[in-house]
């Protein structure tokens, strides 16, 4: 989306949805005329708005012109609109649905928060045959992997992937401690024996140097990027890397450009979760806490199959924010929870058939009272999501225009989906805030946040999660610090709560 102003959104001007009936259009028109007629409304912009209102009615009241207009606009861009009725399903049909916390907000003297939830489906069906997959395992063989069965867990996780990979897939392995070593060059899955021998050759010894490991992996991976299929890099670690985070992150941005996805898997309690999360998020991947073999068993085949059956090759969100608007958070709530970067462009990762992307945007709008008036439409964000198909062909584009009417706060409640998404995000942040309070040396505040979180989870029927939170709270009350593993359990527990209810339920069904 360039800098040109898009065609006016006539539905927005009349304050109706794109599937409004002719009667609704007429009624909205009459109301708008009463409100904006220059004889009655003396504000400076009344004349201009009045002309727009008439123009809107001219187009929308004529079925042929309206149809033409709807098609040109690909009606998915207005907040809280349904896909237009009567649009044939097909690769070009609009796939994006946007809901916002409030579609009308007051222009205030102070900043305010505003949320948008983007629900995007792939325009293409799941492929009948899986895409060939090139999977690089970057495996931790530092000394600490000796303990607590972590090495066995890592190997088990890799085997869950190997078991579901197909003969045409390829695997490479890099092992790392103080320095990385290529344990297995890219090898077709047909040679499973060689892959197993490389996996068995992992020997613990030394520290954790992640940047060198990913650099080495990239040197090899780059030479053999899969043209037909997908290349993914899976980093497993139980530790922290010191001082080389930025090198690894800038490398991850190169991967994103090349269409390579990186997923990260933490083992045990000591790994640096924000680093692993950022590393994965740069590429549209996700980070996980592998606390047990059963987690790996559930998670890993699901991930491999998502890559095999991905409906798009790449999904990328580019956007421009209006001046002084801040994107304070961008969360992918489905299909895999991730805290995405807030700098455009953002890689969204992949979905398979039946899955969708669900993105929650939290924005802070500047004080608007001095510069804006009621009745105006305030543009918050312009952007587009580009979906690249498999096998060539142009990107499918979905325009993302977030705008909000200025006026009295709508008496309606925020849409249910937005409320739920934000509520889950709030739980996640309470847990995070509690840990931050603890690390700042404010155990009292940390406990209070945890108690409040447990009460909210209880009230919403999330009893297991509430029990986990209470357990940590009790430990704090007794004067003990929660173990690093407790913290990971909380972090990933509340993160999973961010999944939408139906996904959550489907997971539970699958796992039971």
């Amino acid at each position: 989306m360039g800098t040109t102003r898009p065609q006016p959104n006539y539905y927005e001007i009349l304050g109706i949805s794109p599937n409004a009936t002719p009667q609704e259009i007429r009624q909205a028109y009459l109301e708008a005329v009463r409100r904006w007629h220059p004889d009655r409304n003396k504000t400076p912009e009344a004349h201009e708005v009045f002309l727009l209102v008439r123009e809107a009615y001219e187009i929308l009241s004529n079925p042929a012109l309206r149809k033409d207009y709807d098609q040109r606009m690909g009606f998915t861009i207005a907040p809280r609109t349904e896909p237009i009725l009567g649009t044939a399903p097909g690769p070009r049909a609009p796939q994006l649905r946007i809901r916002v916390s409030y579609d009308q907000i007051p222009p205030l003297d102070e900043p305010q928060v505003w949320y948008a939830l983007l629900n995007l489906r792939s325009p293409w069906p799941e492929p009948e045959r899986p895409h060939p997959l090139t999977l690089w395992f970057v495996l931790d063989q530092s000394n600490s992997m000796r303990k607590e069965g972590k090495m066995a867990l890592q190997k088990a996780a890799v085997r869950y992937a190997l078991n579901i990979l197909r003969p045409e897939d390829q695997v490479g392995i890099v092992g790392f401690h103080d320095r990385p070593r290529l344990l297995l060059p890219l090898t077709p899955m047909k040679e499973r024996g060689a892959i197993e021998r490389a996996l068995e050759s992992l020997r613990p010894g030394g520290g954790t140097e992640i940047a060198q490991a990913v650099e080495l992996t990239w040197r090899y991976a780059q030479q053999r990027l899969s043209q037909r299929g997908l290349t993914a890099i899976w980093l497993f670690t139980d530790g922290r890397t010191y001082g080389d985070e930025d090198r690894a992150l800038s490398l991850a941005r190169q991967w994103a450009e090349a269409g390579v996805i990186c997923d990260t898997f933490g083992i045990g309690g000591d790994w640096n979760e924000s680093f692993l999360e950022d590393l994965a998020a740069q590429t549209g991947g996700a980070s996980y806490f592998l606390d047990s073999e059963s987690t790996a068993q559930q998670l890993i085949p699901e991930k491999v199959e998502r890559y095999h059956y991905a409906t798009v090759r790449r999904a990328r969100f580019t956007f421009t924010l209006s001046p002084q608007v801040q994107l304070t958070g961008l969360y992918r709530m489905s299909p895999e929870v991730a805290h995405l970067p807030t700098q455009s462009p953002v890689q969204l990762g992949l979905v398979r058939g039946g899955e969708r992307w669900l993105l929650l945007l939290e924005m802070r709008l500047p004080p608007l009272r001095a510069t804006h008036r009621e009745g105006q439409t305030y543009q918050v964000l312009y952007g587009r999501i580009g979906l690249l198909p498999w096998g060539g062909g142009p990107e499918h584009e979905e325009g993302v225009v977030l705008q909000v009417r200025l006026g009295e706060r709508a008496p309606s409640r925020p849409p249910r989906a937005v409320r739920h998404a934000v509520e889950r995000l709030t739980w996640y942040r309470m847990q995070r805030a509690s840990r931050e309070a603890l690390h700042r040396g404010q155990p009292h505040k940390a406990r209070k946040l945890l108690r409040n979180l447990a009460a909210r989870l209880t009230q919403r029927g999330r009893l297991r999660a509430a029990a986990q939170v209470k357990r940590v709270e009790r430990r704090l009350r007794a004067g003990a610090l929660p173990s690093a593993k407790d913290e990971k359990v909380l972090e990933y527990g509340t993160r999973l709560l961010m999944l939408p209810e139906n996904v959550d339920a489907a997971r539970r069904r699958r796992s039971s």
């Binding site: 916390s101 409030y102 907000i105 205030l108 102070e110 900043p111 305010q112 928060v113 505003w114 949320y115 802070r364 709008l365 409640r413 925020p414 937005v418 409320r419 934000v422 509520e423 709030t426 739980w427 942040r429 309470m430 805030a433 209070k448 946040l449 108690r451 409040n452 979180l453 009460a455 909210r456 209880t458 009230q459 919403r460 029927g461 009893l463 509430a466 029990a467 209810e501 339920a505 539970r508």
Partner: protein, 159 residues
């Protein structure tokens, strides 16, 4: 700035939930309208150790709570177990309190009600669950009832 009605923390305009206590900051009265997901019920079905009976002294009626909970008590909907016995002057909120089983214990939590909830005369902090024992007396606004826990074997042998 807006102020959270439950904990008093401040938040930016337009915020939907309080970052300190997690309470909804959009229209309060409707905030508690949502029922618990049905999954909760099935998950707890096996774990429910006793039948919960509420005895309303005033009307001398016994209300058996159906299923395994959680049960919301209030005047929000006819389907809630106590609604039929609540009078307007009782000062009971739409969703006043919740009873639920957890780890074989029955808990009571006040759902941020207007007139509060007491157990054995002690006022509950909103959103802070407390355990309930057989024979405890609960007061929601001015409505009083006793909680009785009937072991399952007993309900089966004396229907």
């Amino acid at each position: 700035m807006i102020r959270c009605p439950v904990c008093g923390a401040t938040a930016l305009e337009g915020s939907l939930y309080c970052s300190e206590c997690g309470s909804p900051l959009w229209e309060q009265e409707q905030a508690h309208d949502e029922t618990t997901s049905p999954q909760t019920e099935t998950r707890l079905l096996d774990a429910c150790p006793a039948q919960v009976q509420l005895w309303l002294e005033r009307d001398d009626v016994t209300v058996d709570l159906p299923g395994s909970g959680p049960w919301d008590l209030g005047r929000a909907a006819k389907s809630l177990p106590l609604t039929a016995y609540i009078r307007p002057q009782d000062g009971v909120s739409r969703r006043h309190a919740r009873l639920y089983w957890e780890n074989d214990r029955l808990y009571l939590v006040d759902l941020g009600s207007t007139n509060g909830t007491k157990i054995n005369g002690q006022r509950l902090q909103p959103w802070q669950p407390v355990p309930v024992r057989d024979g405890d007396v609960v007061q929601m606004g001015r409505l009083r009832f006793y909680v009785h826990l009937i072991p399952h074997e007993a309900t089966e042998s004396n229907p």
